[in-house]
């Protein structure tokens, strides 16, 4: 199993550009999450999903959108990139009934 994979690893965007961060898991987990992490800090939840077709906002959803058409994929969309969205983005997944979240390696995004 590859676990949770994220692409790209790094990206530089200009203000106002848009992009999609990809996240895929092959563990058949029903729960998936998107977090952002600023330098040396904890993680803040952006959006999460409890299963295909179901998404909900987290703590910091403004400026982002998500979709969950399959169990495996949970892409995160930035429509109008702003410097405040410069961060490292982590995707995670979890199996219902279990506590542990499994994290991907992250995407480092810079908006200039």
């Amino acid at each position: 199993n590859a676990g949770v994979t994220q692409t790209p690893k790094f990206r530089i965007l200009k203000i106002g550009q848009s992009m999609t961060l990809q996240c895929t898991q092959d563990m058949n987990h029903n729960y998936m999450y998107w977090y952002r992490q600023d330098p040396g800090m904890g993680l803040k939840l952006i959006y999460y999903s409890v299963g295909a077709g179901i998404t909900d906002k987290g703590e910091v959803p403004n400026g982002y959108n998500v979709s969950r058409s399959t169990t495996e994929d949970f892409p995160l969309r930035l429509e109008l990139a702003a410097p405040s969205q410069t961060s490292v983005y982590f995707c995670a997944s979890r199996l219902q009934g279990f506590y542990e979240q499994y994290f991907g390696p992250g995407t480092r995004l810079t908006v200039t």
Binding site: V4, Y35, M41, G42, Y48, G58, P105, G106
Partner: protein, 111 residues
């Protein structure tokens, strides 16, 4: 909004020393997890505690969940350079669909 405050924020110690990291909140959590994160990687789960007063040991690491389930601590005995990393506590409330992460403790263990 639930908040988890960790202390200290930074800790630099010599190999062989003991240390304790604290995770405090005014909110009650149904479970609490500790993760360790190394540079350039995602967090990796160390332990989950679910019962007030629970103590779990993982080799040189001892985790405790407060009686009221509002706080937790991580104690490392005889720290080693391999313990270096960012330690994060994370609490789940109610049904546990979402985790609230703490502010993080950056630990550096030097030879």
């Amino acid at each position: 909004t639930q908040l988890l405050e960790q202390s200290p924020q930074f800790l630099s110690i010599q190999e062989g020393e003991n240390l304790t990291v604290y995770c405090n909140s005014s909110s009650v959590f149904s479970s609490l997890q500790w993760y360790r994160q190394e540079p350039g990687e995602g967090p990796v789960l160390l332990v989950t505690v679910v019962t007030g007063g629970e103590v779990k040991k993982l080799k040189r690491l001892t985790f405790q969940f407060g009686d009221a389930r509002k706080d937790s601590s991580l104690h490392i005995t005889a720290a080693q350079p391999g313990d270096t990393g960012l330690y994060l506590c994370a609490g789940a409330a109610g049904g546990g669909n979402k985790l609230t992460f703490g502010t993080g403790t950056q630990l550096k263990v030097e030879l």
